[in-house]
């Protein structure tokens, strides 16, 4: 094997760009004694230094991002359109306008500083506020002095181009749920504290008439304080229970609401009739703790989106050619028959017919096929494809909402079967509710002959004490802790339900490219009788630079330092190879057949053959680099799960993968996105609980269809399709521990359920006798809730420590034997799981 590439950096190797920190090549730009890698970076520096904003460079070294490789020539004319502007602005009244942008390039404290100093670059901007975790910039500006377009252009010129996509035009709920939860907790907590204080005298003896007056007064205040708790704070539980019952299902909120309502009305009766003090303190405390559990469960990852659909990627406006003039119009006004212009890397927003230009459409977004498809005039182009190459002119044949992609997204697979009750707590609550009602009615019937009052007392007391608050609290606290532990490891889940589904999983389905292999990382090596000389390297480099095929890209990166030559008569044959004339010599690169060489008998990696003037020159061997620890992960997982591998690629790597996956695993190659989806569906039909692990681009359907879709992401800010969890690619080796740990977390939930049952039995023994005093209730209720919270949190964190998750930094390297051992123990189904 021969390696000829000289990778020494050209020129001054130590020079880095003052703005973005990239190494400066030979054509470095020097300005004010500072070096810049490109004109773009220098322009930003110039703008900032003119406005005395160089503190930007003092807060962090080289805070900028290079403008070199991005297309910043985008036009923002469409932002002058009143309709688009109206929809993008959050608020516009007179000259006061407010807008919120999503800025993907925000990454450090310098960014925050600069973006909050925008008023020094444009005086019409009155206020700018950064929300760093969400990468949002909220701006307030004077709309008479400047326009939305000028603001966006300013942001783009300093390297922070806002991402404006079609879904920005839609009304979005603005974290109002989180805010209202805070207020609900505050109201419940306020009532809880005060009611407890006012109820305290009740627990002591009441003797004098004055005390009797206090008692009435305090009881009245308690009712007043409990009203907002019932009607505002607890409203979510009551609504959810009602909806559940209307759909003839019993969710966890049904027994909870039963308890809440009985609590309130029994107390109301007791206080008004003067027969007792009521249980208002326990009632408010219960609601308060439940809401705190909900808050704990609602851990959201601000920067991640699990629900992206095509609208997050479609542009807001499109260039239309009308009467010979180019003009940008909003996508909503695009009609059938319009001629539109699509540039390099732009998305085709609606099904269209190619009129002019060479189309090379990358459908990876829709079909997962990474190789661009070449199209010539007259061909139909489907929405969602991305043009790669030159400018094309197309005519729209279907409206945006009627196009292929839009309909793909409306495919049934993309609507995950919702409404179905998931989770242990919900599953068990049906039996739980039936059990409570039986005991309550039995108590009622038993005491009926003795006294009606006692019978009702016992009946309501059972409903109160059996309220499954410990169960309702243990799930959010345990799984919420698990979610947090996972997030520290680089595994982000959509919500806590995913942990439960993960714990139940039986089958794991892997994608190959980008999941088991590292996307964009291919090892390229040249094999030939003689190494390529500099001249020949330049030829190869120039030739592959014309093509956007993944293999061409790999060779292009490999030959990155070679000087470029002029290529004439370039031709690309899809699926075969490329050819062109460089320095008067005819080059061919591609498959053995295309180049005219004998096909090799071995089958390791992709081979790209090279011939010059018909003479075989050698070949490039391109191999996918597998993720670190891949075989270890698969080997330990195959002991506990049924594994499958679905690859959209050909079976070149089968020889490498089959021994790792073992005999039981299904290995399928050349699978289309629809095949993958069907495979997952088939497994589910056989009763399997499927975890799909994909890299996001070509597995969208299968990720959606599977019980848990995990997308492996190299960069958390980049595209990831709708999924249930996102795993940082560097933490791939943690997969076995993650699965084992989610099973262990569920055992904590079961343990908690058992403990809460003990409390319930104790409480019920008082309740059925009709002797549940408010004092006992006030002690027992919070005690059981707090036990549940303590067990959940402590046990989960101890487990996390046991699995070694707490010193997470060194974790990704090794696969601890303990985890594997534990996986073994947790595999058999527990009795509770069966009953669920």
């Amino acid at each position: 094997m021969l390696k000829t590439l000289n990778t020494a950096p050209a020129g001054d190797g130590d020079l880095t760009c003052h703005h973005c920190g990239l190494p400066c090549s030979t054509d470095t730009v020097v300005y004010q004694d500072k070096h810049f890698c490109c004109k773009g970076c220098q322009t930003v520096f110039e703008l900032l230094s003119e406005n005395d904003l160089c503190e930007y460079y003092q807060l962090n070294d080289t805070p900028g991002l290079t403008l070199n490789k991005r297309e910043v020539t985008r036009q923002f004319d469409y932002l002058d359109d009143p309709e688009v502007r109206g929809k993008l602005l959050d608020y516009h009244e007179g000259e006061d306008a407010r807008v919120t942008f999503y800025i993907p390039d925000m990454h450090c404290s310098s960014c925050i500083w600069l973006l909050e100093q925008l008023q020094r670059l444009n005086g019409a901007i009155r206020q700018s506020r950064v929300d760093f975790l969400r990468k949002q910039l909220a701006l307030r500006f004077n709309s008479r002095e400047t326009s939305l377009r000028q603001v966006v252009e300013l942001l783009t010129s300093i390297g922070y181009e806002p991402r404006i996509a079609l879904d920005d035009l839609e009304e979005r709920p603005r974290n109002s749920t989180q805010r209202s939860l805070y207020i609900k907790i505050a109201v419940a907590g306020f009532a809880f504290g005060n009611i407890m204080l006012l109820s305290f005298p009740e627990y002591l003896a009441v003797t004098t008439p004055l005390h009797q007056q206090f008692r009435e007064f305090f009881g009245f205040l308690n009712i007043l304080l409990a009203l907002p708790v019932l009607f505002y704070s607890a409203s979510g539980y009551l609504k959810s229970a009602w909806q559940g019952l209307r759909h003839r299902t019993v969710n966890i909120d049904v027994p909870l609401s039963m308890g809440i309502l009985t609590f309130f009305f029994r107390s109301l009766y007791d206080i008004l009739s003067g027969t007792g003090a009521g249980y208002m303190d326990s009632f408010a405390g219960l609601v308060f703790l439940l809401l705190v559990g909900k808050l704990f469960q609602q851990k959201t990852f601000d920067t991640l989106s699990f629900e992206r659909d095509y609208k997050s990627f479609f542009p807001v406006a499109i260039t239309v050619k009308k009467e010979g003039r180019e003009q940008q119009i909003p996508l909503s006004r695009l009609t059938v028959g319009d001629r539109i212009l699509i540039r390099h890397r732009e998305l085709i927003p609606a099904d269209a017919v190619l009129i002019q230009g060479e189309g090379a459409i990358d459908y990876s977004f829709v079909t997962g096929e990474a190789d661009p498809v070449s199209k010539s005039s007259g061909d139909t182009l489907f929405a969602g494809g991305r043009q790669t190459g030159g400018l094309i002119e197309v005519e729209v044949v279907k409206e945006v909402s009627q196009s292929y992609l839009t309909q793909l997204w409306n495919n049934e697979a993309f609507q995950k079967s919702s409404g179905q009750l998931t989770g242990f707590a919900n599953a068990v609550s049906r039996y739980f509710t039936a059990g409570i009602l039986t005991v309550a009615i039995a108590a009622l019937l038993f005491w009926m002959p003795v006294s009606l009052a006692l019978a009702i007392n016992a009946f309501t007391a059972v409903l109160i004490i059996a309220c499954p608050c410990a169960l309702a609290l243990s799930t959010p606290f345990t799984l919420g802790s698990t979610l947090r532990i996972f997030s520290r490891l680089g595994f982000y889940l959509k919500n806590t339900d995913v942990v439960e589904t993960l714990a139940r999983s039986t089958h794991l389905v892997f994608d190959k490219t980008g999941t088991l292999t590292r996307s964009g990382k291919m090892s390229v090596s040249f094999e030939g009788d003689l190494p390529l000389n500099a001249d020949e390297l330049g030829g190869v480099h120039s030739l592959v630079s014309q093509s956007i095929h993944p293999l061409s890209l790999a060779i292009y990166q490999h030959t990155g330092e070679a000087p470029k030559r002029k290529v004439e008569d370039f031709r690309e044959v899809t699926g075969q190879g490329i050819e062109g004339t460089v320095n008067g010599r005819r080059w061919r690169l591609g498959s053995a057949q295309f180049v005219g060489c004998p096909a090799p008998d071995e089958n390791r990696g992709s081979l790209v053959f090279i011939s010059i003037d018909g003479q075989m020159r050698g070949l490039f061997r391109i191999r996918y680099a597998y993720r670190e620890g891949m075989s270890g992960v698969i080997t330990s997982l195959k002991r506990y799960f049924r594994l499958a591998l679905l690859s959209g690629d050909n079976n070149r790597e089968e020889g490498n993968l089959a021994p790792v996956f073992g005999e039981d695993a299904t290995l399928a190659f050349q699978q289309s996105p629809a095949d993958k989806l069907a495979f997952v569906e088939k497994l589910q039909g056989q009763g399997a609980s499927v975890v799909m692990i994909g890299d996001g681009l070509n597995d969208a359907g299968a990720l959606r269809k599977s019980d848990v879709g995990i997308s492996i992401s190299e960069d958390l800010n980049s595209f990831s399709p709708a999924c249930d969890g996102i795993l940082e690619a560097s933490r791939f080796a943690l997969l076995p521990q993650i699965l084992a740990f989610s099973k262990a977390s569920m055992r904590v939930v079961y343990l908690n359920f058992a403990v809460s049952l003990v409390y319930n039995v104790v409480g019920l023994s008082f309740a059925v006798q009709g002797t549940l005093s408010p004092l006992i209730c006030a002690i027992l209720m919070p005690l059981s809730s707090i036990t549940a919270i303590v067990i959940s949190t402590v046990a989960t964190h101890l487990l996390g420590r046991y699995y070694g998750f707490h010193h997470s930094e060194g974790m990704a390297k090794t696969l601890s034997e303990a985890a594997v051992f534990h996986l073994d123990k947790t595999q058999p189904k527990t009795p509770l799981e069966v009953s669920a």
Binding site: R129, F132, V187, L198, L221
Partner: protein, 61 residues
């Protein structure tokens, strides 16, 4: 002891004022972003720029 009635009501009103203050804080978005302010407070105001910065502050109110 009758003064207790007034005191209890007074204490409730007082506590309600705090509840209202908290609700105002939540509604005005003070709990939406728990991270950026921790970075922002570390930026230094340059002496020469004090006037401009003050302007910004009054604007933001």
């Amino acid at each position: 002891m009758s003064v207790m009635f007034i005191l209890v009501v007074a204490s409730l009103v007082f506590a309600l004022a705090f509840l209202a203050a908290f609700m105002w804080a939540v509604r005005s978005g003070q709990f939406d972003d728990g991270y950026t302010p921790s970075v922002r407070m570390l930026f230094e105001d340059k002496p020469g720029k004090r006037k401009e910065n003050n302007d910004n502050k009054t604007d933001s109110k």
